[in-house]
């Protein structure tokens, strides 16, 4: 049996530090919002001429007075991602750009993807993203409250907050782009982390009923160990699937799968080291779950 409980305090400190750092990052550095949430235009471009590279593209686009332009390689050497804010929300901007690029590059390039999100839509998307995440957290809280006692509910929710905040913190730290698919990833993380926590909690509750003489400090450790191989196997298969998406699923899914990979790692960690420690700190005992039974 692994003595997870020996490190409860250490990891609680670490988690608190992670949360604080993440919050500071989120407040002071902020998130790198993509055009979905900031508005603007995105062009994925494939070149068939080696003259077309990041610097020549940047030169071209900067001459066009589009505001802030970012040009990046996208996947392989011939693909580029160009983003700009399209400040005046010009209507025929794509046509203008084509005409302009034709002048320097002929037709040795091809627009593979064009996305243009107006300021109104991006504000709405951001709002609905925030609502979706808040709503999912609230629903999880309610669900777990119905299924368990409030101490469990609090533990699970703290673990969820930890996962969401730290994942976003990593995105902020490395300035990774936040777009619609990241919101989907965060929601899935919420579901996954909850799933992982619930399995351990289910066992904790069962053991609480079974043993009246074991303290919660020991009991959580027993429960974690009993469910440990399941935790490892499920995390492993989920990570295998996600790694397959990350490495082979194409550029578009990279951010999404990365967020999910981080989320699975944090989710697994938080189920053990946050959700359970809340139970310990709240001195959950056999009485807690028996009372729940009596009510029914």
């Amino acid at each position: 049996m692994i003595a997870f409980n020996k490190y409860y305090n250490h990891f609680n400190l670490l988690s608190s530090a992670l949360i604080v750092v993440s919050l500071l990052l989120l407040i002071f550095k902020g998130l790198n919002f993509g055009i979905d949430f900031k508005g603007g235009t995105l062009i994925e471009l494939r070149a068939s001429d080696s003259k077309i590279n990041v610097s020549s593209l940047r030169d071209r686009f900067n001459q066009m007075d589009l505001g802030d332009v970012s040009v990046k390689k996208f996947g392989n050497d011939t693909d580029f991602l160009v983003k700009f804010e399209n400040k005046d929300n010009k209507k025929n901007i794509i046509e203008e750009i084509k005409v302009n690029l034709d002048k320097s590059f002929g037709n040795n390039y091809d627009f593979r993807r064009v996305e243009n999100v107006g300021p109104k839509v991006s504000a709405e998307l951001l709002k609905s993203g925030v609502i979706a995440i808040s709503l999912s957290l609230a629903l999880m809280l309610i669900y777990i409250w119905i299924r368990f006692e409030w101490q469990f509910s609090l533990g699970a929710i703290l673990a969820l907050f930890h996962d969401v905040i730290v994942t976003l913190g990593v995105f902020s730290l490395f300035s990774l782009e936040i777009n619609l698919s990241i919101i989907a990833a965060v929601l899935t993380i919420v579901g996954y982390s909850m799933n992982d926590t619930v399995v351990i909690f289910d066992r904790v509750r069962e053991n609480l009923r079974k043993y009246s003489d074991i303290k919660i400090f020991e009991l959580t450790n027993i429960s974690i160990n009993e469910t440990l191989s399941r935790t490892i196997i499920t995390s492993a298969t989920t990570l295998l699937a996600l790694l397959a998406i990350y490495f082979f699923g194409g550029e578009i899914l990279k951010g999404f799968s990365l967020a999910m990979i981080l989320g699975v790692v944090f989710g697994t960690y938080s189920s053990i080291y946050i959700a359970n420690t809340v139970l310990v700190r709240l001195r959950v005992s056999q009485k807690t779950v028996l009372r729940e039974n009596d009510k029914k």
Partner: protein
């Protein structure tokens, strides 16, 4: 938990085979219409354009209020009530009356059978709201009135948008209302949306009006620019004919001048008015105005009584074709703005499908190897179940003709990774049971029973996340929610019916074997 009746075995087999058949209809062709369904590919996979249009209702409201001032004035004139200083300001109509008339004006607006101010009994609201301070009145659209107005302009706009898109002839466009002032246009397989975008961006408000030098024209005048943006002309506000009078418009080649022109035919009313105007206006310039710009302003040389004519204006064949198309499909009630556009080229879509399939195959193989190494015979059972699960999932998506997007494929891969969770929970529980239970059957039974709540809880939480995503997400993300959500149900089915069936067969054949798992 381990016992299976013959009936249930039959049911599970039939059910699985049915969905595998439905799923395989994506690869083969079936003659039967029930089986011959296919998963729709989202725009991000098959390529195409997604356009979100917003109707700018301001001009419509402005126009309605304009008309309303005339109606109000005339209406009360008939009743011998004098309306003074009527004017429009900031979407309100202001006017005042003399003391004696105040109550009668209020009565007209507040009467439920008023023909000036329609009453909607369903919403307990009038079309217009009236407020008064002393003898000054303020009239504006009520909330319901505005909603009605927006709905009707949306209805008209969507009809025009549909006609224009149909005229261009893309395959299976999807045109839907969003809210009460937006229209969603999905154009699968359209590589270059520029033409459609420019067609949808035009209101196509066509009018024929005389060019005048008389600043005091009875109908008012306005200065309009020519299409080329250089010249200007003063044009009367009196409309001779408008787009509504057109029966048909076609691009043609003028054999005399060798120019591309748009020839048009007028309806009876239009023909009559056009005839009259051309007979009285010989020698004058008739401006052809489209969306506030003059296309051309030819001099009237002859009375045109035939009800047909032509527009020239230095068109290329393409611009003439587009103008004719716009005129045929009619004017939009209000300008449209493209507020969101997402276009994916077909080759990127194909690349995404390939990448998604490779990722699915690799993820699948990795999970299968992992499970086999970890659980041997029971890993094999899990793997067979996983394959059947994948087919059932595809079958359900096919049956409902769901739209598969790139994030949707990611959802399927994720389902593969998470689907083993339930089986792992069960197997691990069985291992624990076997520690103090020697009877294999009892231990397996206990493993299934005792892991049930954890499995249910775990899946419900994921399902909740998927449901929220489905309702809040848009386009591709919705596709992810669908595969993730459906995946939960197919997983539970395959774990509790298929995997359990195999397990029960294996266990009852080897019930005396030690170290079964």
């Amino acid at each position: 938990m381990l016992y299976f009746s013959k009936l249930r075995i039959l049911f599970v087999t039939l059910f699985s085979v049915l969905f595998i058949l439905i799923a395989s209809s994506n690869l083969f062709k079936f003659d039967d219409s029930f089986f011959d369904k296919k998963i729709n590919l989202g725009l991000d996979l098959q390529g195409g354009s997604y356009l979100l249009l917003e109707i700018d209702n301001e001009p419509v409201i402005e126009q309605k209020l304009q008309n309303l001032t005339t109606t109000i004035r005339n209406y009360f004139k008939e009743k011998n009530i004098k309306i003074n200083n009527i004017k429009i300001d900031n979407q309100n109509i202001f006017f005042n009356v003399i003391d004696n008339d105040k109550q009668s004006v209020l009565d007209v607006f507040q009467d439920e059978n008023s023909d000036l101010n329609p009453y909607y009994p369903r919403f307990k609201s009038h079309q217009l709201e009236i407020g008064d301070t002393g003898l000054n009145f303020k009239v504006n659209f009520s909330r319901q009135g505005l909603i009605k107005l927006k709905n009707s302009s949306q209805d008209q706009a969507i009809e025009i948008v549909r006609r224009r898109v149909d005229e261009v002839g893309t395959n299976e466009p999807n045109i839907l209302k969003r809210g009460n002032n937006r229209i969603l246009v999905e154009l699968p397989g359209l590589d270059d949306p520029m033409r459609i975008k420019s067609l949808l961006g035009k209101t196509a408000n066509l009018t024929f009006r005389f060019v005048t030098n008389d600043e005091n024209d009875r109908f008012g005048v306005e200065k309009l620019k020519f299409e080329n943006g250089l010249e200007e002309a003063t044009v009367s506000k009196r409309i001779i004919i408008s787009g509504e009078n057109l029966l048909d418009a076609q691009p043609k080649m003028d054999t005399q001048t060798n120019q591309t022109i748009v020839s048009f035919t007028l309806d009876r009313v239009g023909a009559k008015r056009f005839g009259k105007a051309t007979s009285t206006g010989i020698g004058k310039q008739l401006a052809i105005v489209l969306d506030g710009k003059i296309i051309s302003a030819p001099v009237v040389r002859d009375t045109i009584a035939s009800g047909s004519g032509q527009i020239s204006g230095g068109f290329t064949f393409q611009t003439a074709t587009d103008l004719a198309l716009l005129l045929r499909s009619g004017a939009l009630p209000a300008p449209l703005e493209i507020i969101e556009e997402r276009t994916v080229g077909p080759d990127l879509g194909q690349d995404s499908i390939n990448a998604g399939m490779i990722a699915l195959a690799i993820g699948f193989i990795l999970v299968i190897i992992f499970m086999f190494v970890k659980y041997k015979i029971f890993g094999l059972i899990t793997n067979v179940t996983l394959i059947v699960n994948l087919f059932i999932l595809l079958g359900v998506l096919t049956l409902f003709e769901a739209t598969l997007t790139l994030p949707g494929i990611a959802g399927i891969i994720l389902t593969v990774g998470m689907a083993v969770d339930a089986n792992v929970l069960i197997f691990e529980r069985i291992k624990e049971e076997l520690k103090d239970e020697t009877n294999n059957i009892i231990a397996f039974d206990g493993g299934y029973t005792k892991s049930r709540t954890a499995i249910l809880d775990a899946n419900i939480t994921t399902l909740l996340a998927a449901i929220i995503l489905f309702f809040m997400g848009s386009g591709p993300v919705k596709g992810f929610a669908v595969t993730l959500g459906v995946g939960i149900f197919t997983t539970l089915f395959s774990v509790y019916f298929i995997a359990r069936l195999f397990t029960s067969i294996y266990v009852s054949k080897n019930k005396d074997k030690e170290k079964l798992i």
